[in-house]
Symmetry: C2
Subunit: 264 residues, 2 copies
């Protein structure tokens, strides 16, 4: 396969088609240069609480789009179907994940409002371009995510802890990793913490709450960014009667270019 | 009066106290270094539409805070009272401004949700520090604001045109004006347009829709930033039964430092 073909196969539309046909994989490294998104769909009577929660917690929950009730389309990816085009979903009932299907066609309800939330996979392209290695991509793993002891600011019926993703960064590249991601606030912006994981209440880096543990190289500093999976921790803590989300690490690949989220 | 005394008199709390006692003035240049905010308060059953509208139009409507229904306090300025601490308000009924009082105590309702929206006055401090003259402040006028022909993206029952503020900038300082404001996306970020006002559908710079016309120096380029008064154009176009806003140019002065809104 030529380089061109590989690039084409990785374009957002083709990625979504493969996931629609049932391929299950983490989307890290897919369609580089295009923004990826977390999904949370809730019944309309919970939509205000979710939107207010995101407004009050913009770093873990930067909103990229909100659909009208019942719609499974988004201007972020014309032609895409939010019910089928992610590799994996979670179905939540009263705060408990009860199923992890590859589509949610039979779980769909006409009053569902879908929230698409920025994902740190989006800034990975900029970090790679700056020479920062992505250990989880190199190792074929889902980025490790950890539930912290930092509470988010509550909104209405919603509350819960902040979740972070972690990437080991060589110390000489820490500056680049921080400044490149800081320019992309719509996809979490700069890190919330570097170094000692105890500062976030994380006991053991080898046991992530979501995703896979990743091998650091000697000298690497663990760098923590807020993570859209925060909303899943919030669903678990706040127990809305029904919700749909993506499966952690298995994101919605949009047609929006990373540059559109860059502030300067 | 010493420089220190002047600075103290301009601190946010003292500014708010003077406005609470009835002083009516544009807040441009007051409490430099502290963020200012647009106010829109609507009945709770309109709050979701407003929040969704802001999410879909983040450049004119960057949300800094949303109160719980009925609350007149905000963490952006502990001790402040949103009903009295702005120099001037507008009371809207069915999309028509019916009154411009200096407080809204007797108009307050216990189901009102208040939105505080970033204001371009906030980045003026950074522009001044970069040497960019603020013609409207020098001339003792309210910044000129214009209703454009660019529609915002609708949300629920809300729709309307984008409103912009205009500052004449010497060409050699255009770069600084753009890059300094771009780093402050929570207060509108970089300009949406520079130069020929016809590009935004503005016929005559000498006749602003809000605020005062301002004298440009020879060679100045008109630079247009999105403006939180957009929400007032939206109220006028969408006609909710009741709304309260600030009077254009007479903002809520918060205790939040400008730097808190800076991304890099």
């Amino acid at each position: 396969m030529s380089v061109t073909a590989v690039r084409t196969a990785r374009a957002p539309r083709e990625a979504r088609e493969r996931f629609r046909r049932g391929l299950r994989a983490t989307t890290a490294g897919w369609a580089p240069g295009f923004a990826q998104a977390n999904l949370l769909a809730v019944p309309a009577d919970w939509a205000y609480d979710v939107l207010l929660f995101c407004q009050r917690n913009p770093k873990p929950c930067p909103v990229l789009d909100v659909t009208d009730a019942g719609a499974w389309t988004t201007p972020l990816a014309p032609g895409a179907d939010l019910r089928t085009d992610l590799p994996g979903y979670r179905v939540w009932r009263h705060g408990v994940p009860v199923e992890e299907p590859t589509d949610v066609l039979r779980h769909w309800r006409k009053n569902l409002v879908s929230f698409l939330i920025g994902c740190s996979f989006t800034f990975e392209t900029a970090l790679v371009a700056a020479g920062v290695p992505m250990r989880h991509v190199e190792q074929g793993r889902t980025v490790p995510m950890y539930t912290t002891r930092r509470p988010c600011r509550p909104a209405g019926r919603l509350h819960g802890p902040m979740v972070v993703s972690m990437r080991p960064v060589p110390p000489e590249l820490l500056g680049a990793a921080i400044s490149e991601s800081a320019l992309l606030p719509a996809v979490h912006g700069g890190p919330v913490h570097c170094g000692e994981p105890g500062g976030l209440g994380i006991a053991d880096l080898s046991r992530p709450d979501f995703g896979d543990a990743v091998e650091a190289a000697p000298g690497d500093i663990p760098v923590f960014w807020t993570c859209g999976v925060t909303l899943q921790a919030v669903v678990a803590a706040s127990r809305p009667p029904f919700a749909l989300t993506h499966a952690p690490g298995q994101m919605f690949v949009t047609d929006a270019r990373d540059e559109q989220n860059r502030v300067a």
